[in-house]
Protein backbone atom coordinates (compact mmCIF):
# COMPACT_ATOMS: atom_id res chain seq x y z
CA UNK A 1 0.00 0.00 0.00
CA UNK A 2 1.42 3.38 -1.04
CA UNK A 3 0.57 6.51 0.83
CA UNK A 4 1.50 10.12 0.01
CA UNK A 5 1.77 12.72 2.74
CA UNK A 6 1.48 16.30 1.51
CA UNK A 7 2.38 18.41 4.53
CA UNK A 8 4.69 21.40 4.90
CA UNK A 9 5.34 20.95 8.62
CA UNK A 10 8.36 18.67 8.49
CA UNK A 11 8.04 17.41 12.04
CA UNK A 12 4.39 16.54 11.74
CA UNK A 13 5.06 14.85 8.42
CA UNK A 14 7.87 12.85 10.03
CA UNK A 15 5.67 11.66 12.89
CA UNK A 16 2.93 10.59 10.51
CA UNK A 17 5.48 8.83 8.32
CA UNK A 18 6.92 6.88 11.24
CA UNK A 19 3.47 5.88 12.40
CA UNK A 20 2.43 4.73 8.94
CA UNK A 21 5.65 2.77 8.44
CA UNK A 22 4.80 0.86 11.61
CA UNK A 23 1.71 -0.28 9.74
CA UNK A 24 4.01 -1.42 6.90
CA UNK A 25 2.80 1.14 4.42
CA UNK A 26 5.08 2.55 1.76
CA UNK A 27 5.23 6.24 2.50
CA UNK A 28 6.18 9.11 0.23
CA UNK A 29 6.15 12.77 1.14
CA UNK A 30 5.81 16.18 -0.50
CA UNK A 31 6.42 19.43 1.34
CA UNK A 32 5.23 22.04 -1.12
CA UNK A 33 2.67 22.66 -3.80
CA UNK A 34 5.00 22.02 -6.77
CA UNK A 35 6.43 18.69 -5.68
CA UNK A 36 3.01 17.52 -4.55
CA UNK A 37 1.60 18.28 -7.99
CA UNK A 38 4.51 16.44 -9.64
CA UNK A 39 3.92 13.36 -7.52
CA UNK A 40 0.18 13.09 -7.93
CA UNK A 41 0.47 13.44 -11.70
CA UNK A 42 3.32 10.95 -12.04
CA UNK A 43 2.30 8.24 -9.58
CA UNK A 44 -0.71 6.45 -8.19
CA UNK A 45 -1.28 6.28 -4.45
CA UNK A 46 -3.68 4.21 -2.39
CA UNK A 47 -4.25 7.08 -0.04
CA UNK A 48 -3.21 10.75 0.01
CA UNK A 49 -3.01 12.87 3.16
CA UNK A 50 -3.42 16.47 2.07
CA UNK A 51 -2.74 19.62 4.04
CA UNK A 52 -4.70 22.60 2.73
CA UNK A 53 -2.27 25.39 3.56
CA UNK A 54 0.88 24.78 1.57
CA UNK A 55 3.75 26.97 0.46
CA UNK A 56 3.16 27.83 -3.17
CA UNK A 57 -0.56 27.14 -3.34
CA UNK A 58 -3.70 25.72 -1.81
CA UNK A 59 -4.25 22.05 -1.14
CA UNK A 60 -7.72 22.54 -2.58
CA UNK A 61 -6.11 23.23 -5.98
CA UNK A 62 -4.25 19.92 -5.72
CA UNK A 63 -7.56 18.28 -4.96
CA UNK A 64 -9.03 19.95 -8.04
CA UNK A 65 -6.19 18.46 -10.09
CA UNK A 66 -6.77 15.02 -8.54
CA UNK A 67 -10.45 15.25 -9.38
CA UNK A 68 -9.52 15.95 -13.01
CA UNK A 69 -7.29 12.85 -12.95
CA UNK A 70 -10.18 10.98 -11.32
CA UNK A 71 -8.01 10.19 -8.31
CA UNK A 72 -9.62 12.32 -5.62
CA UNK A 73 -11.61 9.61 -3.84
CA UNK A 74 -8.78 8.43 -1.61
CA UNK A 75 -7.83 11.82 -0.22
CA UNK A 76 -7.96 12.66 3.47
CA UNK A 77 -7.65 16.38 4.10
CA UNK A 78 -5.69 17.26 7.23
CA UNK A 79 -6.08 20.90 8.14
CA UNK A 80 -5.35 23.16 11.05
CA UNK A 81 -8.43 25.08 10.07
CA UNK A 82 -11.70 23.64 11.28
CA UNK A 83 -13.49 25.51 8.54
CA UNK A 84 -16.85 24.34 7.36
CA UNK A 85 -16.33 26.01 3.98
CA UNK A 86 -13.04 24.20 3.38
CA UNK A 87 -14.59 20.97 4.53
CA UNK A 88 -17.55 21.28 2.18
CA UNK A 89 -15.37 22.37 -0.74
CA UNK A 90 -12.99 19.49 -0.05
CA UNK A 91 -15.71 16.89 0.15
CA UNK A 92 -17.39 18.37 -2.93
CA UNK A 93 -14.14 17.90 -4.82
CA UNK A 94 -14.30 14.25 -3.95
CA UNK A 95 -12.11 14.04 -0.84
CA UNK A 96 -13.01 11.08 1.33
CA UNK A 97 -12.51 12.64 4.74
CA UNK A 98 -11.56 15.81 6.58
CA UNK A 99 -9.47 15.65 9.73
CA UNK A 100 -8.73 18.68 11.87
CA UNK A 101 -5.36 19.13 13.54
CA UNK A 102 -4.49 18.19 16.19
CA UNK A 103 -5.61 14.61 15.72
CA UNK A 104 -4.58 11.36 17.33
CA UNK A 105 -2.42 8.91 15.42
CA UNK A 106 -4.93 6.15 16.10
CA UNK A 107 -7.69 8.28 14.60
CA UNK A 108 -5.63 8.95 11.47
CA UNK A 109 -4.92 5.23 11.22
CA UNK A 110 -8.59 4.39 11.45
CA UNK A 111 -9.49 6.90 8.74
CA UNK A 112 -6.71 5.73 6.40
CA UNK A 113 -7.73 2.11 6.80
CA UNK A 114 -11.32 2.98 6.11
CA UNK A 115 -10.26 4.58 2.81
CA UNK A 116 -8.08 1.61 1.92
CA UNK A 117 -10.80 -0.94 2.73
CA UNK A 118 -13.25 0.79 0.46
CA UNK A 119 -10.69 1.00 -2.30
CA UNK A 120 -9.25 -2.51 -1.99
CA UNK A 121 -12.09 -4.80 -1.15
CA UNK A 122 -14.62 -3.26 -3.50
CA UNK A 123 -17.35 -2.44 -1.02
CA UNK A 124 -16.74 -5.39 1.26
CA UNK A 125 -16.19 -3.51 4.47
CA UNK A 126 -14.97 -6.23 6.80
CA UNK A 127 -11.89 -6.74 8.95
CA UNK A 128 -10.55 -10.17 9.89
CA UNK A 129 -8.20 -10.67 12.80
CA UNK A 130 -7.37 -14.01 14.44
CA UNK A 131 -10.69 -15.82 14.77
CA UNK A 132 -12.86 -12.71 14.68
CA UNK A 133 -14.56 -10.91 11.81
CA UNK A 134 -15.93 -7.40 12.07
CA UNK A 135 -18.45 -6.17 9.51
CA UNK A 136 -18.15 -2.41 9.66
CA UNK A 137 -21.23 -1.74 7.54
CA UNK A 138 -23.61 -4.08 9.35
CA UNK A 139 -21.82 -3.37 12.64
CA UNK A 140 -21.66 -7.03 13.61
CA UNK A 141 -19.00 -9.21 15.23
CA UNK A 142 -18.41 -12.90 14.55
CA UNK A 143 -16.11 -15.10 16.58
CA UNK A 144 -15.40 -18.42 14.86
CA UNK A 145 -18.37 -17.58 12.57
CA UNK A 146 -20.65 -17.27 15.59
CA UNK A 147 -22.30 -13.84 15.91
CA UNK A 148 -21.74 -12.04 19.20
CA UNK A 149 -24.05 -9.10 19.91
CA UNK A 150 -22.36 -5.91 21.09
CA UNK A 151 -23.85 -2.60 22.10
CA UNK A 152 -23.02 0.49 20.03
CA UNK A 153 -20.16 1.64 22.20
CA UNK A 154 -18.63 -1.83 22.56
CA UNK A 155 -18.64 -2.20 18.79
CA UNK A 156 -17.08 1.23 18.27
CA UNK A 157 -14.37 0.46 20.82
CA UNK A 158 -13.61 -2.92 19.30
CA UNK A 159 -13.47 -1.71 15.70
CA UNK A 160 -11.23 1.22 16.68
CA UNK A 161 -8.91 -1.12 18.61
CA UNK A 162 -8.87 -3.69 15.78
CA UNK A 163 -7.81 -1.22 13.09
CA UNK A 164 -5.12 -0.01 15.53
CA UNK A 165 -4.05 -3.52 16.49
CA UNK A 166 -0.68 -3.80 18.26
CA UNK A 167 -0.66 -0.03 18.64
CA UNK A 168 -1.03 1.86 21.86
CA UNK A 169 -4.35 3.67 21.74
CA UNK A 170 -4.50 6.73 23.94
CA UNK A 171 -7.61 6.76 26.16
CA UNK A 172 -8.41 10.33 25.05
CA UNK A 173 -8.29 9.22 21.47
CA UNK A 174 -10.58 6.27 22.25
CA UNK A 175 -13.02 8.44 24.19
CA UNK A 176 -13.16 11.04 21.43
CA UNK A 177 -13.69 8.39 18.78
CA UNK A 178 -16.43 6.51 20.63
CA UNK A 179 -18.14 9.16 22.76
CA UNK A 180 -17.51 12.13 20.52
CA UNK A 181 -16.09 15.50 21.41
CA UNK A 182 -18.62 16.03 24.19
CA UNK A 183 -16.56 14.24 26.79
CA UNK A 184 -13.63 16.59 26.58
CA UNK A 185 -13.86 17.82 30.15
CA UNK A 186 -14.60 14.49 31.74
CA UNK A 187 -12.26 13.55 34.58
CA UNK A 188 -9.35 11.85 32.78
CA UNK A 189 -11.66 9.54 30.84
CA UNK A 190 -11.82 6.92 33.57
CA UNK A 191 -15.49 6.43 32.74
CA UNK A 192 -14.64 4.51 29.55
CA UNK A 193 -13.32 1.68 31.69
CA UNK A 194 -16.70 0.11 32.44
CA UNK A 195 -17.50 -0.39 28.74
CA UNK A 196 -14.05 -1.86 28.12
CA UNK A 197 -14.45 -4.19 31.08
CA UNK A 198 -17.72 -5.52 29.62
CA UNK A 199 -16.17 -5.90 26.18
CA UNK A 200 -13.17 -7.77 27.56
CA UNK A 201 -15.46 -10.12 29.44
CA UNK A 202 -17.51 -10.86 26.32
CA UNK A 203 -14.38 -11.50 24.24
CA UNK A 204 -12.93 -13.82 26.86
CA UNK A 205 -16.14 -15.79 27.42
CA UNK A 206 -16.46 -16.36 23.68
CA UNK A 207 -12.83 -17.40 23.31
CA UNK A 208 -11.81 -14.61 20.96
CA UNK A 209 -8.23 -14.81 19.76
CA UNK A 210 -7.64 -11.19 20.73
CA UNK A 211 -7.24 -9.33 23.99
CA UNK A 212 -7.45 -5.69 25.04
CA UNK A 213 -4.59 -4.87 27.41
CA UNK A 214 -4.50 -1.81 29.63
CA UNK A 215 -1.35 0.30 29.44
CA UNK A 216 -1.09 2.00 32.78
CA UNK A 217 -1.68 5.76 32.67
CA UNK A 218 -1.96 5.89 28.90
CA UNK A 219 -4.60 3.77 27.35
CA UNK A 220 -5.12 0.36 25.76
CA UNK A 221 -3.56 -2.01 23.29
CA UNK A 222 -5.23 -4.78 21.31
CA UNK A 223 -3.07 -7.86 20.71
CA UNK A 224 -3.57 -11.27 19.17
CA UNK A 225 -3.07 -13.99 21.77
Amino acid sequence: MKILIIEDETELMEVIRQSLEKENFLVETAEDFGSALDKIISFDYDCILLDIMLPGGSGLDILQELKKLNKSDNVIIISAKDSLDDKLTGLDLGADDYLTKPFHIAELNARIKSVLRRKTFGGKNTVDLANIRLDLDDRTLQIDNQPLPLNRKEFDILSYMVVNKNRLVNKTSLAEHVWGDHMDEADDYEFIYSQIKNLRKKLKENRAGIEIQAVYGLGYKLVVV
Partner: protein, 420 residues
Protein backbone atom coordinates in the same frame (compact mmCIF):
# COMPACT_ATOMS: atom_id res chain seq x y z
CA UNK B 1 -30.15 69.48 32.47
CA UNK B 2 -31.15 69.36 28.83
CA UNK B 3 -29.37 71.71 26.48
CA UNK B 4 -32.67 73.38 25.55
CA UNK B 5 -33.46 74.19 29.16
CA UNK B 6 -29.89 75.16 29.84
CA UNK B 7 -30.12 78.06 27.39
CA UNK B 8 -33.57 78.85 28.72
CA UNK B 9 -32.18 79.28 32.22
CA UNK B 10 -29.75 81.98 31.11
CA UNK B 11 -32.29 83.58 28.83
CA UNK B 12 -34.85 83.84 31.63
CA UNK B 13 -32.34 85.43 34.01
CA UNK B 14 -31.26 87.95 31.38
CA UNK B 15 -34.83 88.72 30.45
CA UNK B 16 -35.75 89.22 34.08
CA UNK B 17 -32.98 91.75 34.62
CA UNK B 18 -33.71 93.61 31.38
CA UNK B 19 -37.43 93.78 32.00
CA UNK B 20 -36.91 94.98 35.60
CA UNK B 21 -34.56 97.79 34.57
CA UNK B 22 -36.81 98.70 31.69
CA UNK B 23 -39.83 98.79 34.02
CA UNK B 24 -38.09 101.16 36.44
CA UNK B 25 -37.05 103.56 33.67
CA UNK B 26 -40.45 103.33 32.05
CA UNK B 27 -42.17 104.09 35.34
CA UNK B 28 -40.01 107.10 36.11
CA UNK B 29 -40.44 108.54 32.60
CA UNK B 30 -44.14 107.99 32.59
CA UNK B 31 -44.61 109.59 35.99
CA UNK B 32 -42.49 112.52 34.90
CA UNK B 33 -44.72 113.00 31.88
CA UNK B 34 -47.86 112.75 34.01
CA UNK B 35 -46.59 115.42 36.44
CA UNK B 36 -45.58 117.64 33.61
CA UNK B 37 -49.00 117.43 32.07
CA UNK B 38 -50.76 117.94 35.45
CA UNK B 39 -48.64 120.93 36.28
CA UNK B 40 -49.36 122.48 32.88
CA UNK B 41 -53.07 121.96 33.49
CA UNK B 42 -52.83 123.58 36.96
CA UNK B 43 -50.94 126.55 35.50
CA UNK B 44 -53.61 127.07 32.93
CA UNK B 45 -56.28 126.75 35.59
CA UNK B 46 -54.53 129.35 37.74
CA UNK B 47 -54.54 131.86 34.91
CA UNK B 48 -58.21 131.16 34.23
CA UNK B 49 -59.12 131.67 37.93
CA UNK B 50 -57.15 134.95 38.16
CA UNK B 51 -58.82 136.18 35.00
CA UNK B 52 -62.23 135.24 36.36
CA UNK B 53 -61.47 136.88 39.70
CA UNK B 54 -60.85 140.14 37.87
CA UNK B 55 -64.35 139.96 36.47
CA UNK B 56 -66.15 138.43 39.41
CA UNK B 57 -64.71 139.33 42.83
CA UNK B 58 -67.08 136.94 44.60
CA UNK B 59 -64.80 134.01 43.98
CA UNK B 60 -62.15 135.74 46.04
CA UNK B 61 -64.15 134.69 49.05
CA UNK B 62 -63.88 131.03 48.22
CA UNK B 63 -61.75 130.05 51.11
CA UNK B 64 -62.13 126.25 50.93
CA UNK B 65 -61.85 123.69 48.20
CA UNK B 66 -65.17 122.09 49.02
CA UNK B 67 -66.94 121.21 45.73
CA UNK B 68 -64.46 122.95 43.45
CA UNK B 69 -60.77 122.52 43.12
CA UNK B 70 -59.35 125.87 44.22
CA UNK B 71 -59.28 128.15 47.23
CA UNK B 72 -58.29 131.79 47.58
CA UNK B 73 -57.11 133.42 50.73
CA UNK B 74 -55.93 136.94 51.32
CA UNK B 75 -52.36 137.26 52.49
CA UNK B 76 -50.21 140.21 53.57
CA UNK B 77 -48.06 141.82 50.92
CA UNK B 78 -44.82 140.95 52.67
CA UNK B 79 -45.66 137.24 52.35
CA UNK B 80 -46.98 137.55 48.79
CA UNK B 81 -43.86 139.22 47.49
CA UNK B 82 -41.76 136.30 48.56
CA UNK B 83 -44.23 133.71 47.27
CA UNK B 84 -43.24 131.71 44.25
CA UNK B 85 -45.30 129.14 42.40
CA UNK B 86 -44.94 125.82 44.15
CA UNK B 87 -46.13 122.47 42.82
CA UNK B 88 -46.42 119.84 45.43
CA UNK B 89 -47.98 116.47 46.22
CA UNK B 90 -50.35 116.35 49.11
CA UNK B 91 -53.20 114.30 50.46
CA UNK B 92 -56.81 115.17 50.43
CA UNK B 93 -59.84 113.33 51.66
CA UNK B 94 -61.81 111.96 48.77
CA UNK B 95 -65.45 111.23 49.34
CA UNK B 96 -65.73 108.57 46.67
CA UNK B 97 -62.71 106.63 47.86
CA UNK B 98 -63.44 107.37 51.55
CA UNK B 99 -59.76 107.84 52.06
CA UNK B 100 -56.96 110.30 51.71
CA UNK B 101 -55.73 110.23 48.18
CA UNK B 102 -52.77 112.01 46.63
CA UNK B 103 -53.46 115.24 44.80
CA UNK B 104 -51.23 117.68 42.96
CA UNK B 105 -51.43 121.18 44.32
CA UNK B 106 -50.23 124.49 42.89
CA UNK B 107 -49.71 127.20 45.46
CA UNK B 108 -49.40 130.66 43.96
CA UNK B 109 -49.96 134.28 44.81
CA UNK B 110 -51.46 137.12 42.84
CA UNK B 111 -52.38 140.78 43.34
CA UNK B 112 -55.74 142.28 42.52
CA UNK B 113 -56.86 145.79 43.29
CA UNK B 114 -53.82 146.27 45.52
CA UNK B 115 -54.75 143.31 47.61
CA UNK B 116 -52.71 140.17 47.74
CA UNK B 117 -54.12 136.68 47.59
CA UNK B 118 -52.83 133.19 47.89
CA UNK B 119 -54.29 130.75 45.39
CA UNK B 120 -54.24 126.98 45.75
CA UNK B 121 -55.34 124.87 42.82
CA UNK B 122 -55.54 121.10 42.99
CA UNK B 123 -55.91 118.31 40.55
CA UNK B 124 -56.51 114.70 41.36
CA UNK B 125 -53.51 112.58 40.64
CA UNK B 126 -52.47 109.16 39.54
CA UNK B 127 -52.64 106.65 42.36
CA UNK B 128 -49.05 105.52 42.36
CA UNK B 129 -49.56 102.29 44.27
CA UNK B 130 -52.27 101.22 41.81
CA UNK B 131 -50.10 102.21 38.92
CA UNK B 132 -47.18 100.20 40.23
CA UNK B 133 -49.41 97.23 40.86
CA UNK B 134 -50.88 97.35 37.36
CA UNK B 135 -47.47 97.75 35.87
CA UNK B 136 -46.09 94.85 37.89
CA UNK B 137 -48.87 92.52 36.80
CA UNK B 138 -48.46 93.50 33.18
CA UNK B 139 -44.76 92.86 33.44
CA UNK B 140 -45.22 89.48 35.06
CA UNK B 141 -47.57 88.50 32.26
CA UNK B 142 -45.11 89.77 29.71
CA UNK B 143 -42.31 87.81 31.35
CA UNK B 144 -44.34 84.62 31.53
CA UNK B 145 -45.47 85.04 27.93
CA UNK B 146 -41.91 85.50 26.76
CA UNK B 147 -40.56 82.51 28.66
CA UNK B 148 -43.45 80.38 27.45
CA UNK B 149 -42.91 81.41 23.86
CA UNK B 150 -39.18 80.73 24.13
CA UNK B 151 -39.97 77.33 25.59
CA UNK B 152 -42.34 76.57 22.76
CA UNK B 153 -39.92 77.79 20.13
CA UNK B 154 -37.13 75.82 21.76
CA UNK B 155 -39.15 72.68 21.96
CA UNK B 156 -40.54 72.77 18.48
CA UNK B 157 -38.06 74.61 16.38
CA UNK B 158 -34.82 73.85 18.16
CA UNK B 159 -35.81 70.27 18.74
CA UNK B 160 -36.22 69.96 15.02
CA UNK B 161 -32.84 71.52 14.46
CA UNK B 162 -31.22 69.24 17.02
CA UNK B 163 -32.93 66.14 15.69
CA UNK B 164 -29.81 64.73 13.97
CA UNK B 165 -27.95 65.14 17.24
CA UNK B 166 -30.51 63.25 19.31
CA UNK B 167 -30.79 60.58 16.64
CA UNK B 168 -27.04 60.03 16.78
CA UNK B 169 -27.17 59.99 20.56
CA UNK B 170 -29.88 57.32 20.54
CA UNK B 171 -27.89 55.18 18.13
CA UNK B 172 -24.75 55.56 20.21
CA UNK B 173 -26.64 54.49 23.33
CA UNK B 174 -27.79 51.31 21.64
CA UNK B 175 -24.45 50.64 19.99
CA UNK B 176 -22.67 47.52 21.12
CA UNK B 177 -19.34 46.37 19.77
CA UNK B 178 -19.74 43.26 17.70
CA UNK B 179 -23.49 43.65 17.28
CA UNK B 180 -24.79 44.19 13.80
CA UNK B 181 -26.38 47.59 13.31
CA UNK B 182 -23.77 50.18 12.51
CA UNK B 183 -24.52 53.85 13.16
CA UNK B 184 -26.37 55.54 10.29
CA UNK B 185 -26.33 59.28 10.99
CA UNK B 186 -29.24 61.42 9.80
CA UNK B 187 -28.80 63.82 6.90
CA UNK B 188 -28.20 67.33 8.16
CA UNK B 189 -27.31 70.74 6.77
CA UNK B 190 -25.84 71.99 10.04
CA UNK B 191 -22.07 72.13 9.81
CA UNK B 192 -21.44 71.19 13.44
CA UNK B 193 -23.67 68.14 13.20
CA UNK B 194 -22.03 67.08 9.97
CA UNK B 195 -18.65 67.24 11.65
CA UNK B 196 -19.97 65.37 14.66
CA UNK B 197 -21.37 62.64 12.45
CA UNK B 198 -18.11 62.31 10.59
CA UNK B 199 -16.08 62.22 13.79
CA UNK B 200 -18.32 59.56 15.33
CA UNK B 201 -18.22 57.52 12.15
CA UNK B 202 -14.44 57.65 12.06
CA UNK B 203 -14.10 56.77 15.72
CA UNK B 204 -16.46 53.82 15.44
CA UNK B 205 -14.76 52.49 12.37
CA UNK B 206 -11.41 52.61 14.07
CA UNK B 207 -12.83 50.90 17.16
CA UNK B 208 -14.49 48.24 15.06
CA UNK B 209 -11.28 47.61 13.16
CA UNK B 210 -9.40 47.16 16.42
CA UNK B 211 -12.13 44.89 17.74
CA UNK B 212 -12.22 42.81 14.57
CA UNK B 213 -8.46 42.64 14.59
CA UNK B 214 -8.46 41.38 18.13
CA UNK B 215 -11.11 38.78 17.42
CA UNK B 216 -9.27 37.70 14.31
CA UNK B 217 -6.08 37.53 16.31
CA UNK B 218 -7.57 35.07 18.80
CA UNK B 219 -8.82 32.93 15.95
CA UNK B 220 -5.51 33.05 14.09
CA UNK B 221 -3.51 32.38 17.24
CA UNK B 222 -5.68 29.37 18.01
CA UNK B 223 -5.20 28.08 14.49
CA UNK B 224 -1.46 28.55 14.65
CA UNK B 225 -1.34 26.57 17.90
CA UNK B 226 -3.04 23.54 16.34
CA UNK B 227 -0.01 22.32 14.39
CA UNK B 228 2.58 22.45 17.22
CA UNK B 229 0.00 20.76 19.45
CA UNK B 230 -0.53 18.06 16.85
CA UNK B 231 3.23 17.50 16.55
CA UNK B 232 3.71 17.29 20.34
CA UNK B 233 0.82 14.92 21.00
CA UNK B 234 1.58 12.68 18.04
CA UNK B 235 5.29 12.51 18.88
CA UNK B 236 4.48 11.48 22.44
CA UNK B 237 2.01 8.89 21.17
CA UNK B 238 4.72 7.41 18.98
CA UNK B 239 7.25 7.59 21.79
CA UNK B 240 4.92 5.76 24.16
CA UNK B 241 4.83 2.82 21.75
CA UNK B 242 8.55 2.14 22.14
CA UNK B 243 9.28 -1.21 23.71
CA UNK B 244 12.16 -0.07 25.92
CA UNK B 245 10.12 2.17 28.21
CA UNK B 246 9.57 1.43 31.88
CA UNK B 247 6.16 1.79 33.50
CA UNK B 248 7.32 5.03 35.12
CA UNK B 249 8.29 6.42 31.73
CA UNK B 250 4.86 5.55 30.39
CA UNK B 251 3.09 7.23 33.30
CA UNK B 252 5.17 10.36 32.78
CA UNK B 253 4.40 10.40 29.06
CA UNK B 254 0.72 9.85 29.86
CA UNK B 255 0.73 12.86 32.14
CA UNK B 256 2.33 15.08 29.52
CA UNK B 257 -0.20 13.91 26.95
CA UNK B 258 -3.05 14.69 29.35
CA UNK B 259 -1.64 18.18 29.88
CA UNK B 260 -1.35 18.73 26.16
CA UNK B 261 -4.91 17.48 25.77
CA UNK B 262 -5.98 20.16 28.20
CA UNK B 263 -4.19 22.73 26.10
CA UNK B 264 -5.88 21.32 23.03
CA UNK B 265 -9.31 21.60 24.67
CA UNK B 266 -8.62 25.13 25.79
CA UNK B 267 -7.50 26.08 22.32
CA UNK B 268 -10.54 24.45 20.76
CA UNK B 269 -12.87 26.26 23.14
CA UNK B 270 -11.21 29.60 22.39
CA UNK B 271 -11.49 28.91 18.70
CA UNK B 272 -15.14 27.98 19.06
CA UNK B 273 -15.83 31.11 21.06
CA UNK B 274 -14.14 33.26 18.39
CA UNK B 275 -16.07 31.55 15.66
CA UNK B 276 -19.39 32.10 17.41
CA UNK B 277 -18.56 35.74 17.98
CA UNK B 278 -17.32 36.10 14.41
CA UNK B 279 -20.67 34.69 13.26
CA UNK B 280 -19.21 31.76 11.39
CA UNK B 281 -22.18 29.54 12.15
CA UNK B 282 -24.55 30.87 9.54
CA UNK B 283 -26.68 27.83 8.73
CA UNK B 284 -29.91 27.68 10.64
CA UNK B 285 -32.58 25.07 10.87
CA UNK B 286 -35.43 24.09 13.15
CA UNK B 287 -33.73 22.09 15.90
CA UNK B 288 -35.77 19.79 18.13
CA UNK B 289 -34.43 20.54 21.60
CA UNK B 290 -36.22 17.58 23.22
CA UNK B 291 -34.58 15.15 20.83
CA UNK B 292 -31.18 16.84 21.20
CA UNK B 293 -31.43 16.48 24.97
CA UNK B 294 -32.36 12.81 24.76
CA UNK B 295 -29.51 12.02 22.36
CA UNK B 296 -26.98 13.80 24.51
CA UNK B 297 -28.25 12.23 27.74
CA UNK B 298 -27.61 8.90 26.05
CA UNK B 299 -24.11 10.01 25.07
CA UNK B 300 -23.43 11.12 28.62
CA UNK B 301 -24.87 8.01 30.27
CA UNK B 302 -21.49 6.28 30.77
CA UNK B 303 -19.97 9.39 32.24
CA UNK B 304 -22.97 9.98 34.51
CA UNK B 305 -22.88 6.35 35.67
CA UNK B 306 -19.20 6.67 36.43
CA UNK B 307 -19.87 9.79 38.50
CA UNK B 308 -22.94 8.17 40.11
CA UNK B 309 -25.20 10.94 38.91
CA UNK B 310 -28.78 10.22 37.89
CA UNK B 311 -30.21 12.22 34.97
CA UNK B 312 -33.96 12.63 34.61
CA UNK B 313 -35.94 14.45 31.97
CA UNK B 314 -39.49 15.77 32.17
CA UNK B 315 -41.10 16.96 28.96
CA UNK B 316 -43.97 19.37 29.57
CA UNK B 317 -43.87 20.53 25.99
CA UNK B 318 -42.10 20.21 22.66
CA UNK B 319 -39.37 22.80 22.31
CA UNK B 320 -37.79 23.61 18.99
CA UNK B 321 -35.55 26.49 18.04
CA UNK B 322 -34.36 28.02 14.82
CA UNK B 323 -30.60 27.87 15.23
CA UNK B 324 -27.44 26.22 14.02
CA UNK B 325 -27.60 22.49 14.72
CA UNK B 326 -23.99 22.20 15.86
CA UNK B 327 -24.35 25.19 18.16
CA UNK B 328 -27.57 23.79 19.62
CA UNK B 329 -25.67 20.59 20.40
CA UNK B 330 -22.77 22.48 21.96
CA UNK B 331 -25.20 24.67 23.93
CA UNK B 332 -26.97 21.70 25.52
CA UNK B 333 -23.77 19.66 25.88
CA UNK B 334 -22.18 22.39 27.96
CA UNK B 335 -25.18 22.55 30.29
CA UNK B 336 -25.26 18.78 30.70
CA UNK B 337 -21.51 18.51 31.15
CA UNK B 338 -21.54 21.25 33.78
CA UNK B 339 -24.43 19.65 35.63
CA UNK B 340 -22.63 16.29 35.76
CA UNK B 341 -19.10 17.54 36.42
CA UNK B 342 -20.12 19.95 39.18
CA UNK B 343 -22.24 17.41 40.97
CA UNK B 344 -21.77 15.30 44.05
CA UNK B 345 -21.67 11.55 44.56
CA UNK B 346 -25.21 10.11 44.12
CA UNK B 347 -26.39 13.48 42.87
CA UNK B 348 -29.13 14.22 40.39
CA UNK B 349 -29.62 16.25 37.24
CA UNK B 350 -33.22 17.20 36.52
CA UNK B 351 -34.18 18.57 33.14
CA UNK B 352 -37.57 20.13 32.56
CA UNK B 353 -38.56 21.12 29.03
CA UNK B 354 -41.47 23.49 28.38
CA UNK B 355 -42.79 24.75 25.05
CA UNK B 356 -40.54 27.81 25.11
CA UNK B 357 -37.98 27.15 27.84
CA UNK B 358 -35.97 24.55 29.65
CA UNK B 359 -34.37 24.31 33.08
CA UNK B 360 -31.53 22.15 34.33
CA UNK B 361 -31.31 21.60 38.04
CA UNK B 362 -28.35 19.84 39.58
CA UNK B 363 -27.65 18.83 43.16
CA UNK B 364 -24.20 20.31 43.26
CA UNK B 365 -22.29 22.02 46.01
CA UNK B 366 -24.24 23.68 48.82
CA UNK B 367 -22.91 27.11 48.02
CA UNK B 368 -24.55 29.44 45.53
CA UNK B 369 -22.36 30.52 42.63
CA UNK B 370 -21.79 34.11 41.70
CA UNK B 371 -24.49 34.62 39.08
CA UNK B 372 -22.69 37.66 37.71
CA UNK B 373 -19.40 35.94 37.12
CA UNK B 374 -20.11 32.36 36.10
CA UNK B 375 -20.64 33.36 32.47
CA UNK B 376 -17.32 35.17 32.27
CA UNK B 377 -14.36 33.62 30.51
CA UNK B 378 -11.98 31.67 32.69
CA UNK B 379 -14.13 32.02 35.77
CA UNK B 380 -13.58 28.74 37.60
CA UNK B 381 -12.65 27.21 40.86
CA UNK B 382 -8.91 26.68 41.00
CA UNK B 383 -9.08 22.99 41.83
CA UNK B 384 -10.80 21.97 38.61
CA UNK B 385 -7.99 21.09 36.28
CA UNK B 386 -10.17 19.50 33.63
CA UNK B 387 -12.35 22.54 33.28
CA UNK B 388 -11.35 25.08 30.66
CA UNK B 389 -13.43 27.78 32.33
CA UNK B 390 -14.95 28.53 28.95
CA UNK B 391 -18.02 26.28 28.95
CA UNK B 392 -20.47 28.85 30.25
CA UNK B 393 -18.79 31.63 28.29
CA UNK B 394 -19.59 29.60 25.17
CA UNK B 395 -23.16 29.15 26.42
CA UNK B 396 -23.38 32.91 26.83
CA UNK B 397 -21.95 33.57 23.38
CA UNK B 398 -24.53 31.22 21.83
CA UNK B 399 -27.41 32.70 23.83
CA UNK B 400 -26.30 36.21 22.81
CA UNK B 401 -26.15 35.14 19.19
CA UNK B 402 -29.74 33.89 19.21
CA UNK B 403 -31.15 36.32 21.79
CA UNK B 404 -31.91 33.62 24.36
CA UNK B 405 -32.14 34.40 28.04
CA UNK B 406 -30.02 32.28 30.38
CA UNK B 407 -30.33 32.76 34.12
CA UNK B 408 -28.75 31.09 37.10
CA UNK B 409 -30.53 30.52 40.39
CA UNK B 410 -29.57 28.77 43.59
CA UNK B 411 -32.51 26.71 44.75
CA UNK B 412 -31.42 23.69 46.77
CA UNK B 413 -28.85 23.14 44.08
CA UNK B 414 -27.92 24.98 40.93
CA UNK B 415 -30.62 25.85 38.48
CA UNK B 416 -30.05 27.12 34.96
CA UNK B 417 -33.09 28.40 33.11
CA UNK B 418 -33.11 29.10 29.38
CA UNK B 419 -35.97 30.96 27.73
CA UNK B 420 -36.29 30.90 23.95
Amino acid sequence: MKLLNHTLKYLSITLFVIISIWAAIFYINMLDEVYDSLDDGLENYKLLIIKKAEEDSSILNKKEFAESNYEIRQIPESVAVLRKDVHQDTLMYMLNEEDYEPVRMLTSAFALNNKFYELKVISSMVEEDDLIEDLLYSLIWLYVAMIASILIVNNFLLKKTWKPFYLLLDQLKQFKLGKDPIIAPAETQVKEFKELNEAVHLLLNRTLETYQGQKQFIENASHELQTPLAISINKLELLSEREDLTENNLVAIGQVIQTLERLKRLNKSLLLLSKIENKQFQDREQVNINATFKNLIDEFSDFADYKNVRISIQENGQLSANMNKDLAGIFITNFLKNAIVHNRENGTVEIIIEANAFTIHNSGTEIALNAEKIFERFHKKSNEKNNTGLGLAIVKAISDLYGLSVTYQFDEGHKMAVTF
